[in-house]
């Protein structure tokens, strides 16, 4: 150990990061102090270490001063470790002769006392200097990448990403849980701010997905299990029974026409329950794939009770006019079961989207109590020409003087429902201002009604968005700045009779108003999917405190996750509009492509290995490894680690009773010297403080 210490030549650099570090840490003092430590031949402070001149400085110093260890105290290693390892390599050293100290995120940014923050920086830097002595040269491992990609979720994000990848010649599996791809966008009538028809821009992409030779589209399917690691994932997908053989169905829909139910009778979920469908159905006319499915919950050919495994029981009680109508195609199969298929892919794109806020959670707005209170998504269907009313805006309750269903003459649109509220969701859902204005425009166009927008703040940060707001103002739509207090049906004045009354403070005028309307539209916010937490676990991702999937870094790695090879796109990462979603999907696809075309991934060589001579063969490590990377050689009675399977968690190392397992980059000697380093008042002498600790270990 002592001899080694004499051989090391450490270069130490402390970064000012402009004022980010220098304002709270006396960088020069840190550099002066570190210079006094044994083994340190050079100690510098510099304004921006990550800049080109900063990196060149390291390279020059390595050559000029013969450095064989480098320590940089700057930001988080999660941000720039890679950068500095590159600089060290360029200087001619093995990149693992480097260690990084975090004195920005963990020090200057979180403390308020310059003296104490500087002391902390010295402690952390000293620990790194102690640690780096023990570093060894390591080889970067290269793992080949399977070129196929899994895209989870067939909304606009998944569709765009899948097409980008497929057009680049990659094989893509697109898995969607609903019977058709299209997601929320397929339900929209128009898109803001250009007002182009959502179907017109989406359906060509949907059919391209359906017919693309490189895309395997599995709808009505869910990912149930993910194993493996970047480049080599094994994924199990449950293909739920449709009771229709996909390959045989031509989408002629004769079965629907001939169903024993003459009229549609069951809630049409695609139309937000505003319309009805039959037990055999296709979710919407442009659905992709054009394949029908049967709902066993309501189909007469199934019993209402289930098998013990949850699968429906065929009753055979129905006349099966659908089968008759299908005729020679024989696509209907009541005995179909859920199937699990397994695929191998190298990368995964998670594009699982969002759900809309449940308006019932804000009881003051009367959704579910007053029939003429609608959610925005319901109104999207109501104004849609292919919607349940053929684009007629008619209310659930009330009639016109001629007895026809009532058309609203006045409409209140309440923004921020469920958003910006500590009791529900604190975040701004980003799209509600714009879609509310879009709906205001469409509703005015369809009905000529007076439209009131009730908003807290109008947020139009997008290309052409403020111009759209301006257009709405020109159209005479009323904008009232105030969060609505309540929607009620009791009248105080004659003109309020029979209306929904919105009570609100017009905060700009400074008066409380009561505004009677025929229809209330709730601009519900966006929320993580109900099962986001389960999905996150499936792909080993993280969620933010608000439940959205967490990107690796909001600015530098916005589509990466903490799991290599798993990427994010669309609203599953946070609320965003269609342009941003498509841009992000393209970015995620590009990240995946970059990985695939490189052909391999470099892996941190932080794997573990067993020192043969010291292994006692107790086997206690074997069940600890979650990757079954530890094997046992019966003839030699020794354990050994398959380094290809090892992920480098170090759990086995932490529990080996004989201390015979070594984790690269996290060797015991490295960690003990780091402990000693942060605590030492004096430069550390090599070795442990005493044998109490050893004696104490049972």
């Amino acid at each position: 150990m002592k001899a080694k210490r004499d051989e090391v030549r450490i270069g130490f650099y402390v970064c000012h990061c402009g004022h980010n570090i220098a304002a709270m840490v006396d960088c020069a003092a840190v550099a002066r102090y570190i210079a006094t430590l044994p083994g340190v031949v050079l100690s510098r402070d510099y304004k921006y270490m990550c800049s080109d001149p900063g990196q060149e400085l390291i390279q020059q110093d390595i050559r000029e001063y013969g450095l064989n260890r480098v320590v940089v105290a700057s930001c988080s290693p999660l941000l720039h470790e890679h950068t500095f390892r590159g600089a060290v390599t360029a200087g001619g050293l093995n990149p693992y002769f480097f260690h990084m100290v975090n004195i920005r995120e963990h020090d200057s940014w979180v403390h308020t006392d310059r003296v104490l923050a500087t002391e902390k920086a010295k402690d952390l830097a000293r620990a790194a200097v102690e640690r780096v002595v023990h570093h060894k040269p390591l080889e970067i491992k290269k793992v080949p990448i399977h070129p196929d990609v899994l895209v989870v979720g067939g909304g606009i994000a998944g569709i765009h990403a899948a097409l980008t990848l497929a057009n680049a010649g990659k094989k893509v599996f697109l898995v969607e849980r609903e019977p058709s791809i299209g997601g929320h966008m397929a339900k929209f009538d128009k898109t803001f701010p250009t007002l182009d028809c959502a179907a017109c821009i989406l359906t060509p992409k949907m059919s391209e997905v359906g017919s693309h030779p490189n895309i395997t589209l599995w709808t009505w399917s869910e990912v149930v299990k993910v194993d493996g690691y970047v480049g080599n994932y094994t994924v199990q997908i449950k293909r739920k029974a449709r009771y229709v053989i996909e390959d045989l169905c031509t989408g002629c829909q004769d079965c629907i026409a001939h169903c024993v139910y003459k009229e549609p009778k069951f809630d049409d979920l695609f139309n937000e329950r505003l319309g009805k469908r039959k037990p055999v159905y296709i979710p919407f006319p442009q659905a992709t794939p054009q394949v029908v499915l049967i709902d066993p919950e309501v189909c007469l050919n199934f019993k209402r009770n289930k098998n013990p495994d949850g699968t429906p029981v065929v009753s055979d009680k129905c006349k099966k006019t659908c089968v008759e109508a299908c005729g020679e195609k024989r696509a209907i199969d009541f005995t179909q079961k859920d199937q699990v298929v397994e695929i191998k892919v190298g990368t995964i794109l998670v594009c699982t989207g969002f759900k809309t806020f449940d308006a019932r959670r804000v009881p003051a707005y009367g959704y579910g109590v007053y029939p003429n209170v609608y959610t925005a998504l319901e109104v999207e269907r109501l104004v849609n020409a292919s919607g349940p009313t053929g684009g007629q805006v008619v209310l659930r309750q009330g009639t016109n003087p001629d007895g026809s269903p009532k058309n609203p003459r006045s409409i209140g649109i309440i923004h921020c429902v469920g958003s910006r509220d500590k009791k529900t969701n604190l975040w701004c859902s980003r799209v509600c201002c714009m879609y509310s204005m879009k709906l205001a425009h469409l509703l005015k166009e369809h009905t000529g009604a007076e439209i009131y927008n009730f908003y807290i703040d109008i947020r139009t940060p997008g290309k052409g968005y403020e111009e759209f707001y301006n257009k709405l103002l020109e159209e005479g739509t009323h904008f009232i700045r105030g969060r609505v207090g309540e929607v009620t049906d009791w009248a105080m004045t004659p003109e309020e009779e029979g209306k929904l009354v919105i009570r609100v403070e017009d905060t700009l005028a400074g008066v409380v108003r009561r505004i009677p309307v025929d229809m209330v539209v709730l601009a519900t916010g966006l929320e993580p999917q109900a099962d986001a937490d389960a999905v996150r676990r499936l792909f080993n991702m993280s969620c933010g405190g608000d439940g959205w999937f967490l990107e690796r870094h909001p600015k530098l790695a916005p589509v990466n996750t903490f799991t290599d090879g798993v990427f994010l796109a669309g609203c599953c990462q946070g609320p965003k509009d269609i342009p941003d979603t498509v841009a992000q999907a393209g970015a995620a696809a590009a990240e995946a492509l970059a990985l695939i075309d490189k052909g391999y991934v470099e892996q941190e060589p932080n794997t573990a290995h067993i020192l043969d001579a010291e292994c006692s063969g107790c086997k206690s490590c074997i069940p600890l490894c979650p990757y079954t990377a530890i094997l046992f050689d019966e003839t030699r009675q020794k354990a050994y680690i398959n380094e290809a399977l090892c992920k480098g968690c170090g759990t086995c190392v932490g529990s080996c009773p004989s201390g015979s397992i070594v984790q690269n980059l996290f060797e015991d000697a490295e960690i003990f010297s780091e402990i000693a380093g942060v605590l030492a008042d004096e430069p550390v002498a090599a070795g442990r403080p005493g044998n109490l600790t050893q004696a104490a270990i049972p």
């Binding site: 910006r420 509220d421 500590k422 703040d457 700045r481 969060r483 207090g485 009570r503 905060t507 400074g510």
Partner: protein, 196 residues
């Protein structure tokens, strides 16, 4: 036409007032106010207020102490807590109103003969002296101090209360009287210590 200058100068502010209010238990969340107006929207009495509850929140936060303590708003609050449960930032607006009432009473800045603080004062006096409230007695005292003539208008009501056996001018009191006096004195003593 009578015109009034409404501009506010920095000298009209009482710097630190907002912070002071926000440091009172229950009033902390005011710093998160986004001025959405939900409080005014749900307040059944906001239609009579000179400043809406939302405006009061902003005036407090911006240190306009005099405007706030002299406003009618704080006295119109009927403590129904609708604003408190609906506020999207979970600001306990009712408790802030209580705090402002306390300060207005302490500083004596309310209109003379204004019945609400008088009622509050008479109420606390009665609790301190007797431990219990005799409602008809309390209300009678309030009218005598504010609008003695209006009390005459209440005669019909008094008569009806008598008819239904609900009128009483005897003072109900706790048995160990003196305890309330002692308790309140002890609170004063403890608070004094904390201030010192």
């Amino acid at each position: 036409m009578e015109i009034k200058r409404t501009i506010k100068y920095e000298a009209d502010r009482v710097p630190g007032f907002g912070r002071e209010v926000m440091s009172v238990p229950g009033c902390e969340a005011l710093e998160h106010c986004i001025q959405c107006g939900t409080c005014s929207g749900v307040c059944p009495l906001s239609i009579y207020m000179d400043y809406t509850p939302r405006q009061v929140m902003e005036l407090v936060r911006s240190d306009f102490k005099n405007e706030v303590l002299r406003s009618h708003t704080i006295w119109l609050c009927a403590s129904c807590y609708a604003c408190t449960v609906e506020c999207p930032r979970q600001i306990r607006i009712t408790d802030i109103m209580y705090e402002l009432k306390q300060r207005a009473i302490k500083e004596g800045v309310y209109p003379p003969r204004f019945p609400i603080p008088v009622l509050a004062e008479e109420f606390t006096k009665m609790v301190r002296n007797h431990g219990r409230i005799s409602e008809t007695r309390l209300v009678t005292r309030m009218y005598l101090r504010t609008h003695p003539l209006a009390a005459l208008g209440m005669a019909g009501l008094g008569l009806n209360l008598m008819k239904t056996g609900r009128f009483s001018l005897t003072q109900d009191r706790i048995e160990r009287h003196g305890e309330m006096e002692k308790l309140m004195a002890a609170v004063d003593r403890e608070n004094g210590k904390a201030d010192a």
